[in-house]
């Protein structure tokens, strides 16, 4: 046995993860120790927020360093740090929009926050994993936490149904992923991404059927997590049933984590055999954005509409994956950050507009919002325009770079399909805007109770959406420095 000590593991490299885990457990214990009523346990949110902030600071300290720890299973590089930042920001914003929401919905359990922190840990492991097993474990930590979060509202049937559906299908798809990993291991004798690349290079870039099948199954497994068609069917049902704050969280977090793993696996391990997977991803990309956009057109529930829109966004991101150049990595990073802001912002507004028991979630319930709460309507419009990709918002710059990267690699047709799709998308985003501005109210709007937490979250989202739209250069530069190692 080699000389094993804390130092060989370089345990400091997972310090942010440890902090999140520690705070997660602390929240659990503090929750059961407190004798206050459920609705009054404000400290749960505070505590978990502090954990996220500390983790973010610790993760920021690693900027610029590159190291492999745990015998090469865990990587720290600018790429994984960018994702850590996205995940932590996502968790932080989710906690901000959750605080009053969970109190309103009577689900202010300590477990709620703990599971958010735990699933963030899973995402970080996925983005930092340098071997397939680590990525898989991260994915499971993330998924299991979210299965429970979706069903957090135990007294509502749709929430239960969503949770069960997500769990069953998730477990099903995890089987594919694990089988894929097993096949890859069987074919190459290693789970390390770099070793797989070495193996493939040794074979002169020709894959045997076992490895090909393994690769295909990995696409299925991760494709499920990022909600790519045809593995997307769970998305609308689950997004609709889940508590709204969790919907916001799971629309961004798992998707980003899935792409983090997707990029790492396919750019590092299968980077040399691009021609073997680009066509599949090409088809998936077209299928995903088209399905998402077309079904979104006829939705009447805002959460379902945003669910389909999130499918469509996964499609756009797949375009950059197909392009597989350095620009596409930074485009994906940028787009995910942009999506984080606009998506959480939009869901935050949905939370503000909706009432107890998640009622008033139809698009028609937004009618006339501009007359009653003009500032909310403006913010919502901003987020929707950004999702539709209209300048000068973050979404526009993100799409611009994604399509540019596709064209740069010669996928002109794919870029054109993407542009057509984003034109279709404008229609259903604007439908909400039209309802808000051009129709009279169809219901009585309650007086606004905007808690400081959700207000801060909305403000951060607005600033993020506008800043990335007007001053994208700085973030893009960071994203460009975060390209994957060993390409």
């Amino acid at each position: 046995m080699p000389n094993t000590s804390i130092m060989t593991f370089n345990i400091l490299s997972i310090l942010p993860v440890l902090i999140l885990a520690g705070f997660g457990m602390m929240v659990l214990v503090v929750d059961v120790l407190s004798s206050r009523k459920m609705g009054e346990k404000n400290f749960l949110a505070y505590l978990s927020l502090i954990g996220v902030v500390i983790a973010a600071f610790l993760s920021k300290n690693f900027t610029g360093t590159t190291l492999f720890s745990f015998y090469g299973a865990y990587t720290i590089d600018n790429y994984s740090l960018f994702f850590q930042f996205v995940f932590l920001l996502c968790a932080g914003l989710t906690i901000l929009i959750s605080k009053n929401y969970v109190q309103r919905e009577n689900i202010n359990y300590g477990e709620y926050y703990t599971l958010i922190l735990f699933s963030t840990i899973g995402m970080i492991l996925m983005a930092s994993g340098a071997d397939l097993l680590n990525i898989f474990i991260g994915l499971e930590i993330m998924s299991i936490s979210i299965y429970i979060l979706v069903g957090m509202k135990r007294t509502r049937l749709t929430s239960n149904e969503a949770s069960l559906k997500y769990f069953l299908l998730g477990a099903f798809s995890t089987g594919f992923l694990l089988y894929g990993i097993a096949l890859v291991y069987g074919a190459t004798g290693t789970i390390s991404l770099r070793q797989i690349a070495v193996f493939i290079a040794g074979k002169g870039g020709v894959l045997d059927p076992l490895l090909l099948a393994g690769m295909g199954l990995i696409i299925v497994g991760i494709g499920f997590k990022i909600a790519s068609a045809p593995f997307h069917a769970w998305v609308p049902d689950v997004y609709e049933g889940a508590p709204t704050a969790i919907t916001a969280f799971m629309a961004v977090g798992p998707k980003a984590a899935g792409f983090a793993a997707f990029l790492r696996i396919f750019f590092i391990a299968f980077g040399q055999v691009h021609q073997d997977w680009e066509k599949i991803i090409w088809i998936l990309a077209v299928l995903t954005m088209t399905t998402g956009n077309i079904i979104a057109l006829i939705q009447t529930n805002i959460k379902r509409m945003l669910a389909y829109s999130s499918i469509a966004h996964a499609g756009y991101l797949l375009i950059a994956l197909v392009a597989a150049n350095n620009m596409s990595v930074s485009a994906i990073l940028f787009y995910l950050l942009a999506y984080l802001f606009m998506n959480i912002g939009a869901f935050a507004i949905v939370i503000v507009i909706s009432q107890k028991e998640d009622s008033f979630l139809k698009i028609s319930d937004f009618s006339g919002l501009a007359y009653k709460h003009p500032r909310l309507a403006i913010a919502m419009t901003l987020f929707l325009l950004s999702m539709a990709g209209i300048p000068p918002t973050a979404g526009f710059v993100g799409k611009f770079y994604i399509f540019s990267s596709a064209i740069k690699s010669g996928y002109v047709l794919l870029a054109i399909i993407g542009v057509i799709n984003s034109v279709i998308a404008v229609f259903y985003y604007l439908r909400v805007t039209v309802a808000m501005y051009m129709r009279g109210p169809e219901r009585e709007f309650q007086p606004l109770t905007l808690s400081p937490f959700i207000f801060v979250a909305i403000i951060i989202s607005i600033i993020g959406t506008i800043q990335l739209g007007i001053f994208p250069a700085k973030v893009l530069e960071i994203a460009q420095r975060s390209i994957l190692l060993l390409r």
Partner: protein
């Protein structure tokens, strides 16, 4: 791939064995069904109610807790075997591990997971 051939052969042998046995009894066995013979648990006791009854979720909870802690204990075996070479690091590591278990136990206890009513 050739290395996996014995496994495949074993697979077919197992499958064949099971099918043969079931098939033989189906072919050779005489069937004189009576009402008693067709009831589940043919052992003299009259069945009461349907077998498809719902169990209290508490059974699952207890079972799950048992499994979780049981598996954690399994982890201690390889640790005990390697304890000498792991030295102090292994000791501290296990302390942390048990500490986490204790926190979980405490949480379950306080949450009321161990109470039946």
């Amino acid at each position: 791939m050739i290395h996996y051939l014995p496994i495949l052969i074993l697979f077919f042998i197992a499958l064949g064995f099971a099918l043969t046995n079931v098939g033989i009894s189906e072919i050779l066995g005489r069937k004189r069904p009576t009402k008693e013979k067709l009831t589940p648990y043919e052992c003299g006791v009259e069945p009461v109610g349907s077998a498809h009854e719902r169990f209290s979720v508490k059974f699952y909870l207890i079972a799950m807790l048992f499994v979780v802690f049981d598996i954690e204990v399994v982890f201690m075996y390889p640790w005990a075997v390697a304890f000498k070479s792991l030295k102090l690091f292994g000791f501290i590591e296990m302390l942390i591990f048990i500490g986490i278990l204790l926190i979980c136990y405490f949480y379950i206890w306080k949450r009321g997971g161990l109470e039946w009513e």
